[in-house]
């Protein structure tokens, strides 16, 4: 159990270290900095496990616990995305929770969303990330975007799902 507790401690340390570094503006939401912090704490776990913890235990789960640390941390990284960007579902939920009776109509939901925010802001993101290009008011897909599109196309064909979004 000591390995699992240590892995959980490292995960909690990862969150707290990020919170501290965020507040002093050293690491905000930059992916590479977050991954670097995650790797450093992971190396700390491996060092403690293989150098400091006695190998006399009969019941050892060092690698399983390490995988838990990785999976917990990936969960936190996913949560950070939802902290950074409010999804349409969360926006609906927030609006609903702000109502006195905690209920919302479709018309009230419609007021929360605009084409500018949901479509054009995202098109700008896709242009900035090199997935599509805009020329003379026309959007065209670039090889990088086509690759992602092909992957999702194959995945959707495998699952037999319709176009999402």
């Amino acid at each position: 159990m000591i390995y699992f507790v240590l892995a959980f401690f490292c995960f909690a340390f990862f969150i707290l270290a990020h919170a501290l570094l965020y507040r002093i503006k050293i690491i905000q939401f930059e992916t590479w900095k977050l991954i670097l912090l995650f790797i450093l704490i992971g190396l700390f776990y491996l060092f403690v496990v293989f150098r400091l913890v006695s190998s006399d235990f009969e019941f050892r789960l060092p690698w399983s616990s390490f995988v838990c640390y990785i999976l917990f941390s990936v969960w936190y990284l996913g949560e950070l995305t939802t902290v950074q960007y409010s999804s349409p579902s969360m926006k609906i939920l927030r609006a609903l929770m702000s109502k006195p009776d905690r209920k919302i109509t479709a018309d009230q939901v419609s007021l929360l969303f605009t084409d500018e925010e949901l479509i054009f802001d995202r098109l700008k993101d896709l242009v900035l990330n090199g997935h599509i290009i805009e020329e003379g008011g026309q959007y065209r897909i670039l090889p990088r975007g086509r690759l992602i599109m092909s992957l999702f196309n194959a995945y959707r064909a495998l699952l037999g799902r319709k176009l999402g979004g």
Partner: protein, 177 residues
């Protein structure tokens, strides 16, 4: 690597592969039905298989472990399996189902000569997005609709909202609700 460590990891990995196959088959068979029951069914089948693999692993190893140790090994294996499924749903399946950016890539990519913003809006717009989102929230059991208004049905989304607010508080970001 210790044998029990290997069993825990292998068992979680095998169950995750089993989940992937199971959910593809279930989604294809029940393609006219909402996805959540197929996904939950595949998840539960994988959890059950993990119990079988951990407790009935062929070998003498389990004889040297106490029942509490075996139960703890099962707990760790189920945790790994659960998070593998969770990340797959969040980052792969969910992205295909709900990502607006992925959908926009398809809208742009389906026009070889290019497409204008207005033409995109004719095919995909904010109204379609929130209508689909509300329908998905109902089919997933998060919301219920009484004929005129929507309300929260399951606590899962509220928990997610609390988590977001918790992390915002931790990072010192202003909370919205």
């Amino acid at each position: 690597m210790d044998s029990i460590d290997l069993i825990v990891l292998l068992s979680a990995g095998i169950c995750f592969c089993f989940f992937l196959v199971f959910h593809v088959v279930a989604l294809r068979i029940f393609k006219d039905f909402p996805a959540p029951p197929s996904i939950v069914g595949a998840l539960l089948a994988g959890l059950a298989l993990n119990v079988v693999l951990t407790f009935f692993y062929p070998g003498e190893l389990k004889d040297s472990l106490t029942i509490l140790q075996l139960l703890f090994a099962l707990f760790v294996s189920e945790t790994i399996y659960f998070f593998l499924v969770f990340h797959y749903i969040a980052f792969v399946f969910g992205m295909n189902e709900a990502s607006i950016r992925v959908r926009l890539l398809f809208e742009v990519g389906s026009s070889p000569v290019g497409i204008t913003g207005d033409r995109i809006l004719q095919r995909y717009n904010a109204k379609q997005i929130f209508t689909a989102r509300l329908a998905r929230l109902i089919s997933a059991g998060h919301f219920k609709f009484d004929g005129s208004r929507y309300e929260v049905k399951s606590p899962v989304l509220l928990l997610q909202l609390k988590l977001i607010n918790f992390f915002k508080g931790l990072l010192g970001i202003r909370k919205e609700v």
